[in-house]
Each structure stands twice: as structure tokens, then as C-alpha cells.
Amino acid sequence: MIEIENVRKSFGPLEVLKGINLTVSKGEVLTVIGGSGSGKSTLLTCINGLEPIDSGRIKVDGTEVHAKGTNLNKLREKIGIVFQQWNAFPHLTVQENVMLAQVKVLKRSKAEAAAEAEKQLKHVGLGDKLSVYPGRLSGGQQQRMAIARALAMSPNYMLFDEVTSALDPQLVGEVLDTLRMLASEGMTMICVTHEMKFAREVSDRVAFFHKGVMAEIAPPEELFGAPKDPELQKFLAATH
């Protein structure tokens, strides 16, 4: 379970998260929508401790992320995150990309890690690209590789930050299909996305962020069917 209590966060004078309260339970798929600059990415990077927070607290499976004694490296094993920019390590093959953290962080043997990498890469449809360098992959393939790399750590949670936003339109579908597959397998996920159709289909709940505030959160039928917040109404009108 991810528990976010009254989290505030500023970059200099700019308050980016203005008291966020949110709980994501096991097996839930939460999508987060909202205009650019509304604090969605910041929230994700706070959840895995890449960014400090100013006040409030975030607990992941009962562990307080920003508490002093928390072992962040240990915590991050449980939380997979995939970003908008492609993040393949260019000097390693696709399989080595997926193996590295397994060997270094989880201390798996090379053979175990290689087998797990192969399994996860097959799972996302990259079974034929094991020994290719990432430079040869399309954007959609790079993103699926990043997903496999995170999954290979056997995380309890997956966070996705606009993973299709940097892709050519014809490559978006294959990545969304991968996310749908994960959702159907019961993975607990937070997906920041601009793909409204996708959000409507896969989400248990959808949260709308506006200027650092979570202005509305509801199941998709409700949030898209009968939006209450005026800003959300404007936002949905603009994206249709």
C-alpha cells in the first residue's frame, strides 16, 4: 500500500505539491491526469525518494520513504519506475540492461539474472532482441525494455510517467498494450498519462491534478462521465 499524507513540496519559491492526500491499495490501477506543470512527475519521484519532500509523509508498505533511517536503495527495489525519456544504458545489450540491477542490487547470479531478463523481455515482446544494443531499438521497444528492466526486480509497485509521450503515434499502441497486460495481471500501478481512452479502460480510479492540488479523484466512469471540478471540466473539454 502507498499512503500519501498531506505532502507538500516546493522548488524554491514555487510550491509544486500543495498538500496531497492519496492512498493506493494493493492491486489498484490509478491513473493521474492533468495539465503540464501540475506536479504529476514530482509526485512520482517523491514516492520513490528521488526527490525530498518539505512536509507530510509517504509510506510504502508501512516504510516511511523520507524518514532519516530509511534505506532508499532497498525501498526502490520494490518500486519500479519508467520515465518519459528513454533510459536505456547504451553500452549494454538489451539483456544486460535488464540484468545489471538484478546482479548488483538483488545479488542474483548471472545465470539467474539472464534467465529472468529473458523471461521479462519475452513478456514485453522483445524476446528476439536480447543481444542487440539499445541504439538499434525503436522508441516503443526502448520503453518496453525499460518496463522489462523494472519488472525484473520483482517490484510490488510500478510507476509510469507519461511513458508514451515521447513516442511517434504509431508506437504508442504497443506500449499501452504492455501496460494493459500488467494491469490485467494484477500489478499495482500509478500511471501518469495523457491517453484518456487508456485511462478510462484500465483504471480503478483516476486522479486529476491541477496546479499542485489533487482536484478530483474518482472511478473513471464518474470522473469522465460527470466531472465536478470546473478545472477538470475545462481540461476534458480541451483534450476531446
Partner: protein
């Protein structure tokens, strides 16, 4: 013209000089590179402001001509350090290696810092969010990628240090150019001797340059 008094003993003297040049260079470049990596990482980690004292010291080594550094270091070590610490005389060879190593480290730290800065921040964020520690990220992601960026400059540095090592004659180290000059004075055959000397330098540099080219080519595949 080439009918000279050049004996095999003289050629041996040149070869010994070449060996000395190679030895001084190898020691200075290895030591200087290790120090340069440490200083470069430190400078990157500390940021421009906190690294200022270190940067200043390294800039001193970069901006004072090597010849002056050698003479001053030699004087400092033997006139001040040796009497105060009550140690035996420090050889010119040691002084030469030390000064050249610091000179290499000063340039190398700049190259290393640039290489680290060239590694995209999002890759480092990705490795950290996979649970890798600062050290694991540094060793497995940053260093390999920075090395690819830094290698051409580093090869240039190593070759430069090899040629600059000719200056260590000033602290009585019998390196290649010094031995060549001894023979020139004796045999009065400057052109021939300088050609042989140049050939030795070429034989030392060429493999290093080619090895660098080979690595660059191999890495460009991925």
C-alpha cells in the same frame, strides 16, 4: 653523409634513453590518471564552488611551464624537504615522475569531469531508481560512458606527456632527447641523430594512438 662514427654502443645509449622516456611516461601517466580520476570525481561531486581550492591547485600545475615546475620541485625537495625530514637525497627520477604525474593529474581531472558531465542525468536517475547505490551507478554506468567520451582527449594527454617528458633532463634524468644531444655533441651528426631520435618517439607513440583508435571503433558499434 651517413658514413659516421655511430657505433652500436651509441645506439644502445639512445635505446636506453627511449626506455627511460617510456618509464617516466608510464609512471607519470598511470599515477596521474588515477589521481586525475579521483580529483575529477571530487570536483564533479563537490560542485564548482566547494571544489574551488582543488581546482585552483590543479590550475597552478596546468599553467606554470613544466621546466620551471621541475626546477622548483627539485630545489624544494632537496633543499627543504630532505633536511627537515632528515631523509636521504631524492633522485631526479623521483622528482620527475612526481611533477609529471601532478601535471597529468591536473589535465586528467578536467577530462574526467567533462566525461562525467556528458553522461545524461536521466540515465543516472534510471539506475538509482533501480535501487543501485551511488557507487554502483558510478562504476557501472557513469565510468563506462564517461570513458568513451574522454578517451580521445586522454590519448592526446598521454602522448603529450610523453613528448613533454623530454624536459626532465633538467633534473638529470637521462631520457631520449638528452642522450641524443650527448651524441650530437660528440659525433656532430645532428640530422641523422635527430631522425633516429624521432623514430624512437614515433615507435613509442604509434601503438598508443592505434590502440585508442581501435577502442573508439569498437565502442562505436553500440
Amino acid at each position: 653523409m651517413f658514413n659516421t662514427g655511430l657505433t652500436s654502443n651509441d645506439l644502445w645509449l639512445l635505446a636506453q634513453g627511449a626506455g627511460m622516456t617510456l618509464l617516466v611516461t608510464a609512471i607519470a601517466v598511470s599515477l596521474g590518471t588515477i589521481l586525475g580520476i579521483i580529483f575529477g570525481v571530487l570536483r564533479y561531486q563537490l560542485g564548482p564552488w566547494w571544489a574551488l581550492p582543488l581546482t585552483f591547485v590543479l590550475d597552478v600545475f596546468r599553467s606554470i611551464p613544466l621546466l620551471i615546475q621541475l626546477i622548483l620541485a627539485n630545489a624544494f625537495v632537496n633543499m627543504i624537504l630532505v633536511p627537515t625530514l632528515k631523509i636521504g637525497k631524492v633522485s631526479g627520477f623521483t622528482v620527475a615522475c612526481g611533477v609529471l604525474a601532478m601535471y597529468t593529474a591536473a589535465y586528467c581531472s578536467e577530462i574526467v569531469r567533462g566525461g562525467i558531465e556528458a553522461v545524461p542525468a536521466n540515465l543516472r536517475r534510471a539506475s538509482r531508481s533501480l535501487g543501485m547505490s551511488w557507487g554502483q551507478d558510478m562504476w557501472n554506468i557513469v565510468m563506462p560512458l564517461a570513458t568513451r567520451v574522454a578517451l580521445p582527449s586522454w590519448i592526446g594527454l598521454a602522448l603529450g606527456v610523453m613528448k613533454d617528458s623530454a624536459l626532465v633532463y633538467i633534473v638529470q634524468v637521462p631520457e631520449l632527447l638528452k642522450n641524443t644531444q650527448i651524441l650530437i655533441t660528440r659525433l656532430q651528426e645532428p640530422l641523422l641523430l635527430l631522425m633516429i631520435c624521432g623514430l624512437f618517439y614515433f615507435l613509442i607513440s604509434f601503438p598508443i594512438a592505434r590502440f585508442g583508435g581501435y577502442l573508439e571503433k569498437r565502442w562505436s558499434n553500440d
